[in-house]
């Protein structure tokens, strides 16, 4: 009899069930989408924050002081120590290599630029633009196009394996360079593939493939510094501690967390005779921005959950209140309060499960769509979310029905059957 009661109730009152079901489905869909977005937003925004550029810099350990004002190096360029270009792919061998978005070596050289019969000294920076490298079987591409996304080129990006160069915007203007002209550096003619605009000191410089700068300097394989762009975890009490003072367990936890400090430490391990340092302007601020945005989405998600819970409750209360006559009839026929409540709770459970499944699927699609349209990447739905969402759906539906069911059961059947209320 009990299953039949529930079954018939669904079959005969399709409209009412549909209304309550729609409310539950919508509530669950929004909750799923919001939770999925909120759990993934940290990762997504972290990647967006990489558009601020590298957050780590690796320099030779025994480096002399930089004497540099406004991007102009006043130190003899062959002075000081260098890193070895051949060591760079080892960055992909560090513990957190999945978090390393990209890296760019830099080698500044002062070269004479001959133009219209006059000669002037300009800085030429050798780097990777979009270089194919491999570490073991791991093939990857890295360079300034990844680590310095605000660099804009009017023309083409040079190929890392050829000798085309980029001319800084202000330098191009100063020497009255016109498209398709070559430039003469230290007696050699170079093809200019484009004009570079960065808003930084590179606007007054020439940027070339690393090999060109190494040739100019006469030091094959030399690299002055490496900029590394890594996804990091916001700093906390553990991150700022000195690894030398840690106990082994704490050290392991520190080493295996993607703090900017521990990534710097691992970079130092990977590249011989190097010193890795966080670029505080980028590294310190992204932590705050990231935690603010994550916190905001968490609170918005809480508000959304609350709203959908109340909406589901209201819909359930309405659905039950409409059926006082039915309850009166059941009670007049001798059903106890317990049985009547059980029928309604069973219905609520069925509604919650059906609405929950449909809502979860709809919410996942929604989250997917949000990820695609805003971040141009997938928002991953954790499978563990499904049981959590279902539990929330059942709980909220029950909680929403409970008060209405109690009131309806207490109601004198005579009144409800008479039709007055």
């Amino acid at each position: 009899m009990f299953p039949r009661l529930v079954y018939e109730s669904f079959r005969r009152q399709t409209r009412r069930k549909l209304l309550a079901g729609i409310a539950i489905t919508l509530g669950v869909a929004v909750a799923t989408a919001m939770i999925a977005v909120a759990t993934d937003i940290g990762d997504k925004i972290n990647r967006e924050l990489r558009s601020y550029g590298a957050n780590l810099v690796v320099t030779p350990q025994e480096d002399t002081l930089d004497v540099e004002i406004g991007g102009i190096n006043l130190k003899p360029p062959s002075d000081g120590a260098f890193l070895n270009e051949a060591d760079l792919p080892k960055i992909r061998g560090t513990f957190w290599h999945h978090n390393i978005v990209g890296f760019s070596p830099m080698l500044p050289v002062t070269v004479p630029l001959e133009r219209d019969g006059t000669q002037r000294n300009v800085t030429l920076v050798g780097t990777y633009f979009s270089k194919q490298l491999s570490f073991g079987k791991d093939e990857f591409t890295t360079g300034v196009r990844i680590t310095h996304p605000w660099w804009k080129v009017d023309g083409h990006w040079p190929d890392d394996n050829f000798t085309s160069v980029l001319l800084g915007e202000r330098l191009a203007e100063r020497i009255h360079w016109r498209a398709l002209q070559t430039i003469t550096l230290a007696g050699r003619d170079f093809h200019v593939s484009g004009v570079l605009s960065t808003g930084g000191p590179e606007d007054d410089e020439i940027v070339a493939p690393l090999a060109v700068a190494q040739q100019m300097l006469g030091k094959p394989g030399a690299v002055r510094r490496v900029y590394v762009s890594a996804l990091t975890k916001p700093p906390d009490a553990l991150s700022v501690r000195d690894p030398k003072t840690m106990s082994p367990e704490v050290y392991d936890r520190w080493y295996c967390s993607p703090y900017v400090e521990s990534i710097a430490y691992q970079l130092q391990e990977a590249i011989p005779h190097s010193h890795a340092e966080q670029i505080r302007q980028v590294a310190q601020n992204e932590g705050t921005v990231l935690s603010r945005i994550k916190g905001l989405m968490l609170l918005v998600t809480l508000a959304a959950l609350l709203a959908s819970a109340l909406a589901v409750s209201a819909a359930m209360a309405t659905a039950i209140f409409e059926r006082r006559v039915e309850i009166g009839l059941m009670k007049a026929l001798g059903a106890g309060n317990l049985v009547v409540s059980a029928v309604f709770f069973a219905e609520a459970l069925l509604l919650a499960l059906m609405g929950g499944v449909v809502g979860f699927i709809a919410g996942s699609l929604l989250a997917h769509q949000i990820g695609r349209s805003i971040f141009a990447s997938q928002i991953s739905i954790q499978p563990v979310l499904f049981p959590i969402i279902m539990a929330i759906a059942v709980f909220v539906t029950f909680a929403g029905s409970a008060a209405a069911i109690r009131r309806a059961v207490k109601f004198d059947p005579v009144f409800s059957l008479r039709g007055g209320a």
């Binding site: 002081l65 930089d66 808003g199 603010r292 945005i293």
Partner: protein, 390 residues
């Protein structure tokens, strides 16, 4: 027989009192009684309305305010505009005051002057003259062991980590020479940034100028506001300082625009979703409510009420519900937004009363739709059938 006149008088009195009493129209009475008699149902409809209005208010408030809040967080990245003298010339001494008067007091401008000095053992090191108080405000990320105080400027310096290893490895007072002129300096604090600043020594601008005679060549400016406001600010700066080059710091501006746009889009999507869901749930609840009252509808029609009156009655009821729900929800929503602002940004979200008309209009519209939809369906049904109980 003494009771009759009393009763008569009483009846008369009642009639008089009724005549004198403010004339409550049948329409208003019906509205009030309908809400009073079915308190539970009316309350649950109202609750749905209030929740929807509150969520909508909170979302709109946040959407507007969070961008301003995040922008001020992004200003911690430092200057977004750099001013340099054209072709390397130094800037006018009153440039900083000019900048701040052109852009208002919220703008932070920090002058920098550079020179290359030599240490005792002949090593070159870059020395920078600046305003410590301003630099401290602008560059939050500078990791400084101890800032020099603004007042006492007797050779106090900030020494970059790497410069310290060369100039003052023991953190003792040290001497620098610039074109034969020597100066005696004290390392007040150590500076660490991970960038070029680590190889430099910072001292107070006035002292620097007395020593080297070099005036500031660069001013870093943090212009607050939207991208358009920053562009506008740069134009104003170009007018105020015609002898200087105004350059945007693209790294900072583009990074900020990128992150802000993504956050705004996410917030917008979430807000739309949540508001839409609340609206649809209100719709579902109210439709149920109106359907449930088809007997009232039938009785009114059976008693001869015109179509217009019945429609008007339900519409007025819905509108009243929408107005009350919007007002209650608006204040709750402002509270929620303020709480989120305080919890996340440690600054309350300013209540924006400008969103109230939207919330009100939206609430009334949703309420009206949910009243009109079922009535349209019921109109085709004969009152007798409804009253019979089918």
């Amino acid at each position: 027989m003494s009771t009759a006149p009393t009763a008569l008088r009483t009846a008369k009195e009642v009639a008089e009192r009724r005549a004198q009493a403010p004339h409550t129209s049948m329409f208003v009475r019906m509205l009030i009684r309908a809400a009073m008699l079915r308190r539970g149902r009316a309350a649950s409809a109202l609750l749905a309305m209030v929740v929807a209005a509150a969520v909508a208010t909170a979302m709109m408030n946040l959407y507007v305010d969070v961008q301003a809040k995040l922008r001020s967080e992004f200003r911690n990245y430092g200057a977004n505009v750099v001013i340099v003298g054209k072709s390397g010339q130094s800037l006018a001494p009153d440039a900083v005051t000019k900048i701040e008067s052109a852009l208002g007091p919220k703008t932070l401008a920090v002058p920098f002057a550079y020179a290359v000095a030599r240490t005792k053992d002949g090593q070159s090191v870059v020395v920078v003259g600046t305003d410590f108080a301003r630099a401290r405000q602008l560059n939050h990320w500078w990791n400084v062991t101890h800032w020099p105080d603004a007042a006492g400027n007797s050779g106090q310096t900030l020494v970059g980590m790497r410069a310290a290893a060369v100039a003052t490895p023991e953190h003792q007072a040290f001497d620098l020479t610039f074109q034969g002129k020597a100066i005696h300096l004290v390392p007040t604090g150590l500076l660490q940034t991970g960038a070029a600043e680590d190889s430099r020594i910072y001292l107070d601008q006035r002292e620097f100028e007395n020593w080297t005679g070099v005036a500031p060549t660069t001013i870093e400016v943090a212009v607050s506001g939207t991208a358009d406001e920053v562009q506008q600010g740069m134009k104003q700066l170009a007018v105020a300082l015609p002898e200087a080059d105004i350059r945007p710091v693209r790294q900072i501006m583009e990074g900020e625009a990128n992150v802000l746009n993504k956050t705004r889009a996410t917030l917008y999507a979430s807000a739309t979703l949540v508001v839409l869901t609340s609206a649809l749930c209100v719709l579902a609840t109210l439709i149920g409510w109106v359907f449930d009252r088809r007997r009232d509808f039938a009785i009114m029609k059976a008693l001869g009420a015109s179509e217009g009156l019945v429609n008007g009655f339900f519409a007025a009821e819905a509108a009243a519900l929408g107005v009350v729900g919007a007002i209650l929800g608006f204040f709750i929503g402002i509270g929620v937004a303020a709480w989120i602002g305080r919890a996340n940004f440690h600054a309350p979200v300013v209540p924006r009363f400008s969103v109230f008309p939207y919330v009100l209009a939206g609430s009334i519209a949703v309420a009206l739709i949910s009243a009109v939809l079922p009535i349209g369906l019921l109109r085709r049904v004969q009152p007798a059938i409804i009253l019979r109980g089918e």
